[in-house]
């Protein structure tokens, strides 16, 4: 099972507000990423057709930036800060604990499609290091144990819902 944000939204609908100016390339990729959940092959071809450039060029840009993913990611996107302040305050241990708790490595998604772990360079909350962000919500002042608690709480909530 994978979580795709919208089953019904078509690529065409997502991209309908953009004109053929090339400066729309990254905003178009971004909207695909947020609305569909990842950059689809279909999306790349649609962008290429709209901007009148080869699909390879769209891929070229998309693969350059860390934000774009080419596979659906988990329902909960865990960004673990590996910035300097977090690094010196034990971010490696937090990452390790979350990886072990979920049984996946950084960059991977759990089997059930619930969690994806990703490293990020800095979330701007350096004085409360180490921190992680889960779907735009920041959790600060972590320890490995605290991080695991956060994950367990989400899991429990999910189980209760289903």
């Amino acid at each position: 099972m994978k979580f795709i944000l919208s089953e019904t939204l078509t690529t065409e609908e997502v991209l309908k507000d953009f004109n053929e100016e090339k400066s729309n390339l990254i905003p178009m990729l971004q909207i695909l990423q947020t609305k569909i959940g990842y950059v689809t092959r279909e999306g790349v071809y649609a962008i290429a057709a709209k901007l009148n450039v080869p699909p390879a060029e769209v891929y070229g840009v998309a693969t350059f930036f860390a934000q774009f993913k080419f596979e659906p990611s988990g329902k909960y996107h865990i960004l673990i800060c590996m910035g300097t302040a977090c690094h010196v305050n034990g971010a490696r241990e937090v990452l390790g604990a979350v990886e072990r708790e979920l049984g996946i490595n950084e960059g991977e998604t759990t089997e059930d499609g619930l969690f994806t772990i990703e490293e990020v360079a800095c979330l701007g909350c350096c004085s409360l290091a180490p921190v992680m962000m889960i779907n735009k919500e920041i959790h600060a002042g972590l320890t490995p144990t605290k991080a695991i608690k956060v994950i367990k709480a989400i899991r429990k909530e999910e189980e209760n819902e289903s």
Partner: protein, 593 residues
């Protein structure tokens, strides 16, 4: 009475939203004549103390509560708001922290509601642009900025007034102004605080820049990792449009200007101005050779000025109070104030805005109250991945562009990471290099391959496989990369390595010749051991993910248990050095050696 709750990212992540919601529901229950105004505000800079709540009485006196949670909120409502009795135990006096600071960039952060344009107008907001449009020529605006001595706060420290003059003198049209809100240095958060806490100041700075250079369009290039900043900027832009500060014929002056946000897509190199423009144009963010400079040929081939958030937030102050007033602060060729993001092992981490020329010691040991757990400062790393690492013995160095450059560090983004004796300098250098290595765009060979070779050597040293001669090889590679890279990413990437070698060579030596990490941090060079203090509680066994701890859990008397079973033991082969056991041990009975 008024209540304001700090809701920047730092405040929210520390639990500020819960506190705000609690105030909202409690206040709504109060009777009509106990009117209390509740608002949000940005980051005061004392992030270590979040969530922060200010209660302001009718005379304007501020009571500052820190580290507030739901329960304390209820106490404040009952005691202070209803009974009129401030709760002394929860209050802190922030005067010692702010006494030596001068807030220009951060003048409104933590005081006004960033989502209200009226709040900004009340504190002289949009008065500078009104003054410029009513009474000043474009040239006079640039002259004022020149006179202030302001230099770009994004890293390079180029004179802002000069930069504007170059763009204004280019006859081609249209012209563009870009605000660089990419804040790529992992460990700097001053731009975030301004964007989240006082977005209108950035807009006003951009408007003044646009007016002086004749730009009709502006972009704010904001990193995607700052979703709240993007949200508040968008609110600010919408409000400014509605009030006629943006759009056609602004305040009846005939000046047209509008701007939009461009969200970054997660590439450090896009903070570099030419790469940034490439990505707005819809291409891979790769830097190009300068000249031509953006003022000559920038975005879409047109004259463009790129300024940092902090630089732009200074501008309304300079126009309103005069360049000479700004110039009064600072020393030598570094004028005005600078915001430093102090984090790491420091006790009171957060944002500190001081006049240029203050010593590092003053900032770290006085304003930020030194190191956590009463440890000692070992080093301070300035300016992020492009910057350098200075030892404790250089803490009396004053921060200005020229003095810091002499030491091998830079002012840069103002990121200041403080390290104590448990931070390994070789590992820190490796950390920065692995960051720049990953973020290298790959265009030029020295940066792409050179950083990779350096990283391999550093990895070996941290793994205890370093060889004699490695240090010299790092120096050789580092110097070559510095001298031959196309942009400043490669041009500065070796700095953390070169400065740590310069000031902490003995630590490199210990790793290489003795296979020892003096800071006890490099995983391959340390072992974990359970010592005599162990009482057999078994909490380490429970958390150990690799079943590396053996022993029998104690039931009953400690001495008897010790005699019978002996304390717990860690099997080194199985230990993955995850640190979980140490974190769980309440008896300090696990030692790293």
């Amino acid at each position: 009475m008024k209540v304001r709750v700090g809701l920047a990212s730092c405040g929210i992540s520390a639990g500020g939203q819960v506190v705000y919601d609690e105030f909202e529901s409690e206040i709504s229950k109060l009777v009509e004549d106990k009117k209390i105004e509740l608002s949000i505000t940005g980051c005061l800079g004392i992030c270590f103390a979040e969530p922060i709540v200010d209660v302001i009485d009718d005379e304007g006196k501020v009571y500052r509560y820190t580290k507030i949670d739901k329960k304390k909120t209820q106490q404040i409502v009952q005691k202070h708001l209803i009974e009129g009795q401030p709760i002394d135990e929860l209050l802190i006096n922030t005067d010692p922290i702010f006494a030596q600071q001068v807030k220009i960039v951060l003048r409104n952060c933590g005081f006004i509601d960033p989502e209200s344009i009226e709040a900004y107008e009340e504190v002289d907001g949009y008065k500078a642009i009104r003054k410029a449009l009513d009474k000043m020529t474009k040239e006079e605006v640039i002259e004022e900025v020149k006179e202030s001595g302001l230099r770009g706060r994004g890293g390079a420290g180029f004179s802002t007034g000069m930069k504007w003059m170059f763009a204004a003198n280019n006859p081609n049209e249209p012209r563009y102004i870009i605000c660089n809100a990419d804040e790529g240095d992992p460990g700097a958060f001053a731009n975030r605080a301004v964007l989240e806490g006082d977005p209108h100041a950035v807009l006003e700075g951009m408007m003044l820049a646009a007016y002086s250079m004749g730009c009709e369009k502006g972009y704010i290039y904001c990193r995607a990792e700052y979703p709240l900043a993007v949200e508040r900027l968008q609110i600010a832009i919408d409000q400014a449009r509605e009030k006629g500060y943006l759009g056609y014929n602004i305040m009846g002056s005939g000046f047209d200007f509008d701007l939009e946000i461009f969200e970054g897509a997660g590439a450090f190199v896009c903070g570099e101005e030419t790469a940034l423009m490439q990505s707005i144009e819809g291409a891979r963010g790769m830097p190009r050779l300068r000249p031509p400079y953006p003022a000559q040929k920038g975005l879409f081939g047109q004259p463009t000025t790129i300024n940092n958030v902090e630089t732009l937030a200074d501008i309304p102050y300079i126009i309103l109070h005069g360049g000479a007033k700004y110039y009064e602060y600072g020393i030598a060729k570094s004028r005005g104030t600078k915001v430093f993001s102090v984090a790491g092992k420091v006790r009171n981490g957060g944002l500190v805005e001081v006049p240029m020329g203050m010593s590092l010691r003053n900032i770290i040991c006085d304003i930020c109250d030194g190191i956590k757990d009463d440890k000692k400062v070992k080093a301070v790393q300035l300016g992020g991945p492009s910057g350098g690492c200075l030892p404790e013995s250089l803490l009396d160095t004053v921060v200005d562009y020229e003095t810091l450059t002499e030491t091998g560090a830079i002012v840069g983004s103002g990121g200041m990471i403080v390290a104590d004796e448990t931070t390994c300098m070789v590992d820190l250098a490796r950390f920065f290099l692995s960051f720049t290595q990953q973020e290298s765009c790959g265009k030029c060979t020295f940066c792409r391959i050179g950083t990779k070779r350096m990283l391999e050597i550093l990895n070996n040293i941290c793994d205890g496989k370093g060889k004699v001669g490695d240090i010299e090889e790092l120096e050789r590679l580092g110097t070559t990369i510095k001298n031959s890279s196309l942009c400043a990413l490669g041009g500065t990437a070796p700095n953390p390595v070169l400065t740590t070698i310069r000031y902490f060579r003995q630590e490199y030596d210990a790793h290489i010749t003795e296979q020892r990490c003096p800071a006890k941090s490099c995983k391959a060079l340390i072992t974990y051991e359970i010592i005599d203090g162990c009482v057999g509680c078994g909490s380490c066994v429970r958390v150990c993910p690799s079943d590396a701890i053996i022993g029998t859990k104690r039931k009953g008397d400690v001495d008897l248990w010790r005699e019978e079973h002996g304390i717990f033991v860690i099997i080194d082969d199985k230990c993955i050095r995850c640190h979980m056991c140490i974190a769980s041990c309440r008896y300090d009975a696990i030692e790293v050696s």
